[in-house]
């Protein structure tokens, strides 16, 4: 329980006043010479059960009445179900809003969403608490935004829903930075969230640092989590993937893979999935029996006159969460499969050139073999991937490669003949190792990345590849395949997207990658496919900070369809024109699949801090904080009435006293 005037609680020892008066009264006894001792002795011998109970009940009720008066004067506030916590009026209140699509869920059809409920309840509560400053923190990059009054939280545009996932560690870090630099005195952090794992990132290493930082703050900081973790009943999400434009003769058609998913095991459900492309709608029924149903390679014929570039939307009927009922996609004629090969070893270069040049479909694959000095003249803008065998780039070369990575290109580094001390994205080659007997990969990741299993589920035959010698790797790496002893064979750089290292070369003296060509072919073609996703006139993007940065870099970020106009470019779902490209922005895939983080896990994240969790429900009309002094006054009155009733002589005793005091009149 929190009090608006906690200093009044100093008077709580007055609760003992009735007891003290009783004890003083006991000491102030009178002495009386008494004749009828035999009745006193008899009274002492009689059972004292009820009298003693009544006596103590009266005492307890008097103490309760005093306590109720003191507590009422302290202006108590109820939080949730009268959760117990210390605190009073905060100097600053920072509202951290989880605005992710999952917060758009409603409890009942047509009801208020979790985010709207949270904003309203927080506005009411902070108005009651009369916090000195109220700040809203919804974007870690922008930091907290001060509002004139708590009621503005409901209306604030930057507190509205977005399609991007939230980053709670980053938001808390931003809140910490603000408190450290600005806020003085008691600060309350109000987090409004549904505890989804993709928003909270409980495994993120930053949590420990954030917790320690808050604990070391000189100000008193209380963290209040307004949790709406209850799942949205019957909610189904739709998502499209692998959208490609195919041309068959003179006809064009769009091939789309659609997945509908839900987080609970409901019964059989037939969903009409609606496609809207260029103003023309088509629909197809998808039957959902488990948690997910996939409509693979659904073909949508396009008009012959239709442009090669366009966008569309796939949607399902409204349910408990409107934010995951639409998915936007953009399409364009597939770009050429151009890749760049830089190799100091001609043998390795030939192999890489050959592998990159064989496209998996009928598309033309172009490979530019770039000499070491000709990087500046390479067709960077048209290339999807760069295969580099040689010392890591430095200087101008490094800048070019970084720029290529920055626009979404993929780079695969193969081991150089003579490793140097050069570093790239925090990684460096070390010495070669040549085992007496050729080694094979001991383990590799089959679930994702370049060495993942095939779509049919078959593993790549990496175990058949002989590694005759391997080059050491150091730096921030995520191993994708490891040699015996744990040395990485294939690894991904953790500091930058799209950088992969292979600790050997396709040259026959180093490995049998060329001879056992399947693994090398899959690795190279998958890297090219990844790079192609950012080429061409259409691309998919997840709403969030990265897309927002791209939108800013774009210069012109024009809405084509979907979301309403907003100042938060890149955070809302829709189709946008970025220069001559179409970008379909949607919620991240984790928003559809992530489960709530367990309460115990959340508690552990805030261990050592003043933390309280209040469970809310979407559409809940009650305020989470309200003054309850009236309840205490009523309790005091009830206690006094009960005390009065108990203090009254019992009717039988009163009659008896009346009879015995006037026997003659009674007899008459």
């Amino acid at each position: 329980m929190t009090f608006l005037q906690p200093w009044v609680l100093v008077a709580l020892p007055l609760v003992a006043l009735p007891l003290i008066i009783h004890l003083i009264n006991q000491r102030r006894f009178q002495t009386v010479r008494w004749a009828a001792m035999q009745f006193l002795l008899a009274a002492k011998a009689l059972s004292r059960g009820y009298s003693r109970l009544r006596h103590w009940l009266i005492m307890a009720l008097r103490m309760a009445a005093v306590a109720a008066v003191i507590l009422a004067v302290g202006r108590p506030l109820s939080r949730g179900w009268l959760a117990l916590a210390g605190g009073g009026r905060p100097d600053s209140a920072i509202v951290i809003l989880d605005r992710s699509p999952s917060m758009q869920a409603v409890a009942t059809a047509g009801g208020e969403s979790k985010l709207d409920t949270g904003r309203r309840q927080l506005a009411d509560s902070l108005a009651t608490l009369r916090a000195g400053r109220v700040l809203v923190l919804s974007d870690p990059a922008k930091g907290p935004e001060e509002v004139a009054s708590p009621a503005e939280i409901v209306e604030l545009v930057s507190a509205g829903p977005v399609a991007a996932a939230s980053d709670l560690p980053a938001l808390l870090q931003s809140g910490y930075d603000f408190i450290r630099e600005n806020a003085a005195g008691t600060t309350e952090l109000w987090i409004c969230s549904d505890q989804r794992a993709n928003d909270w990132k409980p495994d993120d290493g930053a949590w420990g640092g954030i917790r320690d930082a808050f604990a070391k703050l000189p100000q008193q900081v209380r963290v209040q989590l307004l949790s709406y973790a209850a799942p949205a009943p019957g909610n189904v999400a739709v998502r499209a993937s692998n959208v490609r434009l195919e041309t068959v003769g003179r006809d064009r058609r769009l091939v789309v893979t659609v997945a509908v998913s839900r987080q609970d095991d409901g019964g059989r459900l037939t969903l009409p999935v609606k496609f809207e492309i260029g103003g023309i709608s088509t629909a197809v029924d998808v039957e959902l029996t488990g948690r997910e149903a996939v409509l693979k390679n659904h073909v949508i014929p396009l008009e012959r006159s239709a442009a090669a570039r366009g966008w569309g939307r796939v949607s399902i009927p409204a349910d408990a969460n409107l934010a995951d009922n639409d998915f936007f996609f953009a399409y364009d004629a597939p770009p050429p499969r151009r890749s760049l090969v830089v190799a100091e070893d001609p043998a390795a270069g030939r192999v890489l050139e050959l592998v990159a040049a064989i496209a998996p479909d009928k598309a033309v694959a172009l490979v530019d073999l770039v000499p070491p000095g000709g990087l500046a003249a390479a067709a960077w803008d048209e290339a999807a991937a760069l295969f580099w065998q040689g010392p890591l780039p430095e200087g101008r070369d490094a800048e070019l490669v970084q720029a290529f990575l920055g626009r979404g290109g993929q780079v695969v580094f193969f081991a150089p003949d003579r490793p140097t001390t050069a570093e790239f994205v925090g990684c460096a080659w070390s010495e070669w190792t040549a085992p007496a007997k050729p080694a094979t990969a001991e383990s590799w990741r089959t679930d994702q990345d370049l060495l993942a299993n095939t779509l049919a589920g078959s593993a790549l035959p990496l175990g058949d590849v002989e590694i005759r010698r391997s080059c050491g790797l150091s730096g921030d790496l995520v191993p994708l395949a490891s040699l015996p002893g744990g040395a990485p064979l294939v690894a991904r750089a953790s500091r930058a997207e799209g950088v992969t290292f292979v600790a050997t070369t396709p040259a026959p003296r180093d490995s049998s990658l060329a001879a056992e060509g399947v693994v090398l072919y899959a690795l190279v073609q998958r890297a090219i496919d990844r790079g192609l996703t950012v080429l061409g006139g259409a691309r998919q993007a997840d709403a969030g900070t990265a897309t927002a940065e791209n939108a800013r870099a774009c210069g012109t970020w024009t809405r084509q369809g979907g979301a309403a106009a907003s100042t938060e470019a890149g955070f809302h779902a829709g189709v946008f024109a970025c220069g001559d490209r179409l970008v379909a922005v949607n919620r991240p895939v984790a928003e559809d699949t992530a489960l709530p983080v367990a309460d115990e896990r959340i508690d552990a994240l805030f261990r050592g801090l003043s933390f309280q969790r209040i469970t809310g429900t979407a559409g809940d009309t009650d305020s989470i904080v309200q003054e309850i002094w009236r309840a205490f006054l009523i309790a005091m009155l009830l206690a006094l009435v009960a005390e009065g009733l108990l203090s009254l002589p019992r009717p039988a005793a009163a009659d008896r006293a009346a009879k015995t005091s006037r026997p003659l009149e009674a007899a008459a």
Binding site: A36, M37, F39, A43, K44, A653, S661
Partner: protein, 303 residues
């Protein structure tokens, strides 16, 4: 009669004058030594006809009813009721508890007034008056006598009675029953703070001896109401120990104990045919005595 002494504090001439209008009568025949106004178990020479009896040689010929002889040709002797005097034995409780008062008159003072008035009324109608002061035993006793000088002695005893010591009323009543050979009116003035069962045997003993027992049960208003506001240490006025009690805690049970005691006592006096009067000391004693006398006058004629 008070010319040679100071007026007694417990006697109010006005009250006595008003009470003298109602005679003090016994509820059962008395065996007196002289003629009086009380019924006797024997035939006597009063004007009230009793019965006819066959003449036997030796009877006084003056009592022969010649009219009856003329009608029946048989000799009958006409008998009349005998009126005699009574013995009034006042039993005054002088135990320590009789000194109690909650602000008004003490119980002993109240008892003096009752005893003094009864003694005076009895003496005025020619009855013998005696007194026995009772505490742990018989403290002082005067046998019943008819003379006014004896009444003065009785008043002296009343005046000098000092409450002290425990109550052994039942034992003393047994002793009185044994020692008072002739029928008497035994008027007990006490707070009766002893077990009703022990009193029952004493009352039965007196009844067996054909005594007319009357009991004035004196109670202080505070003893009935037990209205205390503060924790109190109660000192026993009869020399027992002290008891510390919180009135909030004990009042209810005190009332229950008092109620049980009074109910038992009522049963005992009903079974023993005791003329019982519960008296609260804030009531006028004149009213109590008037009720007592009138009640007895209503039962006149019993022989």
């Amino acid at each position: 009669m008070f010319t040679d002494r100071q007026p007694r504090s417990f006697l109010d001439p006005a009250v006595l004058a008003r009470l003298a209008a109602v005679p003090l009568l016994a509820r059962r025949p008395m065996v007196g030594t002289v003629s009086g106004r009380h019924a006797s178990p024997h035939r006597g020479s009063s004007v009230e006809f009793a019965e006819y009896r066959k003449y036997v040689p030796g009877d006084d010929l003056r009592r022969l009813d010649w009219r009856a002889f003329g009608r029946s040709d048989r000799h009958y002797v006409k008998e009349y009721e005998a009126d005699t005097n009574l013995r009034l034995c006042l039993v005054l409780d002088t135990s320590g508890s009789m000194e109690f008062t909650s602000g008004g008159v003490t119980k002993i003072e109240y008892a003096r007034r009752i005893c003094g008035a009864l003694g005076y009324l009895a003496s005025q109608q020619g009855d013998a008056v005696g007194i026995t002061c009772v505490a742990g035993g018989i403290v002082r006793t005067l046998p019943p006598r008819r003379s006014p000088a004896h009444l003065r002695l009785v008043f002296d005893v009343l005046e000098e009675a000092k409450p002290a010591g425990p109550t052994r009323l039942p034992e003393v009543l047994h002793e009185i029953a044994e020692t008072t050979r002739q029928r008497a009116v035994v008027a007990i003035v006490s707070d009766l703070f002893c077990e009703p069962e022990t009193l029952a045997t004493a009352f039965s003993h007196l009844r067996f001896r054909r005594h007319d027992v009357a009991a004035f049960h004196l109670l202080d208003p505070q003893e009935l109401a037990f209205q205390f506001q503060r924790p109190t240490r109660f000192l026993d006025m009869e020399g027992g120990g002290a008891i510390f009690a919180d009135p909030i805690d004990i009042t209810d049970r005190y009332h229950r104990a008092m109620e049980a005691y009074l109910a038992n006592l009522r049963r005992v006096v009903l079974e023993s045919a005791v003329d019982y009067h519960r008296v609260v000391t804030d009531q006028p004693y004149e009213q109590v005595l008037a009720r007592f006398l009138v009640g007895r006058a209503a039962g006149r004629g019993l022989r």
